[in-house]
Amino acid sequence: MRYAEFKAPKGLIKVELETRGNIISSISFSGDFFMYPEERLQGLERALAGVKASRESVAGAVQNFYRSTGIRTPMLEPGHWVEAVMRALEGQR
């Protein structure tokens, strides 16, 4: 299990993930941010499971999720999720 935190301008994203080979096999977020609607966070986690463990793939999945769901995360941008995930991926196991 890999863990990382990323402090966005408003809100701390905590991420726990596991990889299999070069793939994110499972991922879970927690923290003190806001997301509307709240239930979508599980969808973001599902959208990232199975994605290649690269910045490009993660960024693509996050941006696609924002576009397709219309979720709103005040003062939290797609790039902040990507940064949190990359920290967990690049950190020590």
Partner: protein, 252 residues
């Protein structure tokens, strides 16, 4: 002028406080409850965590248990909050989504505008700081969390009257080495309270009266005193078993 119901100041345990907020929001969405403003206290004191937080990462559960402090997960996002029995007043505003701006930050600003106006009535110069804070003299005195569910808006938040800051940071997981006198001093530079700013002790009723008038004026509504309906109480009693459950607390 639109009418909102103003509920009397009540005191409940954490799961019931959260259940009442949720019940009003659900029934407001169904057109069965009016737009509502309520103020409440916590008996016993409690820690509430945001709906996306992991309780064991945020709260010293063992200390909470020893102190008899409730721990509850909110249906709103944001961070962990210590609801001191004697030092904190909580408000909740429930209305239709059409009654506030669609933009999330703007809508926080509108509802927090009631607090800003209320603090001014107490003689304190306050300002809204997006996303969800109200500051007095550049220090945080109130934090809010909003959810939009079922077609309605619930925004609840803290009004710090005289919180026990040391106990707050012992309960909320700040690394022990951080809870030094220096850390506590730095908190006093960032967070303030009504009693500290006023230099005297205010009663909960005094604060509630000022904030109610502030909300009425800022939201341009007429507040009409009322009680929880039988339907709201029944739904709240149903919801409290979910909101008070270990499963809900450890959901994330």
């Amino acid at each position: 002028m639109n009418k909102w119901r103003l509920l009397p100041l009540t005191m409940n345990d954490a799961s019931m406080n959260m259940a009442i907020d949720e019940a009003i929001c659900r029934l407001n969405a169904e057109g069965k409850s009016p737009n509502t403003l309520r103020f409440y206290r916590w008996e016993p004191a409690a820690v509430s965590i945001g709906c996306f937080q992991r309780v064991e990462q945020e709260v010293d559960l063992e200390l909470a248990r020893r102190c008899g402090i409730d721990v509850v997960r909110r249906i709103t996002g944001g961070g962990a909050v210590f609801h001191d029995h004697d030092g904190e007043l909580t408000y909740a505003a429930v209305c239709g989504q059409g009654d506030v701006p669609d933009d999330i930050i703007e809508s926080y600003g509108v509802i927090c505008g009631g607090l800003v106006d209320g603090f001014k009535r107490l003689g304190l110069w306050a300002e809204f700081k997006p996303v969800n804070d109200v500051l007095v003299n550049d220090k945080k005195i109130s934090g809010s969390a909003q959810t939009r569910r079922w077609g309605s808006v619930l925004q609840h938040g803290t009004i710090l009257i005289d919180p026990n800051v040391r106990l707050m940071f012992e309960l909320l997981k700040v690394s022990p080495e951080k809870i030094s006198d220096k850390f506590i001093a730095s908190v006093y530079e960032r967070v303030t309270s009504i009693n500290r700013e006023m230099g005297r002790k205010l009663s909960f009723e005094e604060v509630r009266a000022a904030m109610s008038e502030g909300f009425a004026s800022a939201l341009d509504v007429k507040l009409v005193g009322g009680e929880l309906t039988r339907q709201e109480l029944e739904l709240a009693n149903e919801l409290r078993s979910k909101l008070g459950s270990e499963e809900w607390l450890r959901r994330r």
